[in-house]
């Protein structure tokens, strides 16, 4: 270490650089708790869902990768299938006001109705707090949490990182795989992948 730089400053810099990483969600670790306002007016606290599987789906209605999964009905199918099997499915919108994908509660409710989407709730995260807590990089970035509150999948929705609707039928859906495997008591074969899509439009996204 170079002489002349105060030690306290170095420690300070170190802390600043690593704090977000320390708190970020990682596969195999406890899913950080959060409280969020849902578009349906309810307040959702993650820890209230202990005992259930939880899926977090990062969403931006203007993103072509999200569009691929909603226009095809793929995301809605997944939501219906898994909530039908007792999974809590939260669509999370971390777009900052003024950025692509930002919606008010009523706009989101209109979107959910129009798209016939069926998540347990859509969570409004305009300050990006939940997004940063889970280091959500893209829409659709997918997180799966087990009933013990541990992150068991972190990554892409499937193995076709494109905007082509025609890629959906032949794709391997990682969320399905993770949930099927874990519910069957098996080890999840692919617990992490690169979450493809559009960058999450946090307030620090340049315009």
């Amino acid at each position: 270490m170079k002489r002349g730089i105060p030690l306290t400053m170095l420690i300070g810099l170190g802390l600043c650089a690593f704090l977000p990483a320390m708190w970020a969600a990682k596969v195999g670790e406890a899913a950080p708790d959060f409280t969020a306002a849902a578009s349906n007016g309810k307040t959702i606290r993650l820890s209230d869902y202990r005992g259930k599987y939880v899926v977090l789906e990062w969403h931006n209605n203007g993103c072509p990768y999200v569009g691929k999964h909603y226009k095809s009905g793929n995301m809605q199918r997944l939501q219906k299938e898994w909530t039908g099997r007792g999974v809590a499915w939260f669509t999370v919108i971390s777009s900052a006001p003024g950025k692509q994908g930002y919606v008010t509660a009523s706009e989101e409710n209109d979107y959910l109705a129009k798209m016939q989407a069926a998540p347990t709730a859509a969570l409004l995260d305009p300050d990006g707090a939940i997004g940063h807590l889970y280091t959500a990089k893209t829409s659709p970035h997918m997180i799966v949490i087990n009933p013990q509150g541990v992150v068991i999948y972190d990554g892409a929705i499937d193995d076709k990182p494109t905007t082509d609707l025609s890629d959906i039928p032949g794709a391997t859906n990682y969320v399905n795989l993770a949930l099927e495997e874990t519910m069957a008591g098996k080890q999840i074969e692919t617990p992490t992948t690169r979450p493809y899509g559009c960058s999450v439009k946090y307030s620090d996204a340049k315009h």
């Binding site: 990483a21 940063h132 990089k137 893209t138 905007t163 559009c198 960058s199 620090d204």
Partner: protein, 306 residues
């Protein structure tokens, strides 16, 4: 339609009055034309005036982007996707892998992407069979899928084509595209000098890259070739040493298994970029003999390139 000639001339002296002149000047050539994609154009160009049997000639996909918009590198980083090319080749030709120029770091403090702004030429070597019988022109076509982003992203598709004469004489450089290919080649990463040594130690949350280059290095940037190994947005901490540097690279959150090697592009300065391939836990030579352009896992099947 923006013609290539105009772009080259505009680089020299961008006067609005030359528009008409270049339009006329471009028209007689007419072998290639740029195709529109969202906020950009793409054009298939050739480095040589003609092709001959047994030679490998370079074609190029030249993207010209509107200000502020970008496309992506082979490893796009945290978001986005690289351009994909599906070739329709004439009989007797084989396409090589795309040679990706050094990208730029794009994005924000929390999401970092790798890509290209303004203009970029992706060189693709095209090999003509030694028994190429044809005397008739070779027609190359490609279907391009590309994601063009500023803050928002728009997917685009384009069909480009180019007809090149086939002759018996060895191919001669085309002065109309010389500059674009020269620029593209200058921006390609190079193999590392044989005397350079690299080591990679794996620590709990990070990799420690040690470089012995024979001189102190104060600035360096690493672009990982393989996704989900290195945290793209984390600061790359560089510690200069007498013989080079040590760099700390934070591991990606998505990396949960040990890796065997770390491959990527090491940029030391604007015109000094090198391909490195370092084995974890070994202090060894930088590359394992894979050359510029032949990036890993880019096998070619039926002329399709992903």
């Amino acid at each position: 339609m923006v013609c290539l000639m105009r772009k080259i001339m505009c680089k020299a002296k961008c006067l609005s009055s030359i528009g008409l002149f270049t339009f006329i000047a471009c028209a007689p050539f007419g072998q290639a034309a740029s195709s529109p994609i969202p906020h950009a154009t793409v054009e298939l160009i050739a480095e040589n005036q003609w092709i001959a049997a047994g030679y490998t000639v370079n074609l190029g996909l030249h993207f010209q982007l509107e200000k502020g918009w970008h496309i992506y590198w082979i490893n796009p980083g945290d978001s986005g996707e690289p351009p994909r090319v599906k070739w329709q080749l004439p009989t007797g030709f084989t396409a090589g892998a795309i040679e990706w120029p050094v990208p730029r770091r794009l994005g924000t403090s929390s999401i970092v992407d790798f890509g290209y702004e303004d203009g970029v030429t992706l060189i693709v070597p095209m090999h003509a069979d030694a028994h190429l019988a044809a005397q008739q022109p070779a027609q190359f076509a490609a279907q391009i899928s590309v994601l063009v982003c500023r803050e928002v992203c728009i997917p685009g598709k384009a069909q480009v084509s180019l007809t090149i004469p086939v002759r018996l004489q060895s191919p001669k450089t085309d002065s109309r595209t010389e500059e674009l290919f020269a620029t593209a080649r200058k921006s390609l990463p190079r193999p590392v000098p044989v005397s350079w040594k690299f080591g990679l130690a794996e620590e709990k949350g990070s990799f420690l890259l040690t470089a012995s280059l024979g001189h102190q290095v104060n600035h360096a940037l690493f672009y990982p070739l393989v996704e989900s190994q290195v945290d793209n947005a984390a600061p790359q901490t560089l510690r200069p040493t007498a013989s080079g540097f040590q760099m700390t690279l934070r591991k990606s959150d998505q990396l949960i298994k040990p890796i065997e090697r770390l491959k990527g592009v090491l940029v030391l300065s604007a015109d000094q970029a090198f391909l490195i391939d370092v084995q974890v836990g070994k202090s060894d030579a930088g590359t394992n003999g894979y050359s510029v352009g032949t990036y890993p896992a880019k096998s070619l099947a039926k002329g399709e390139q992903k």
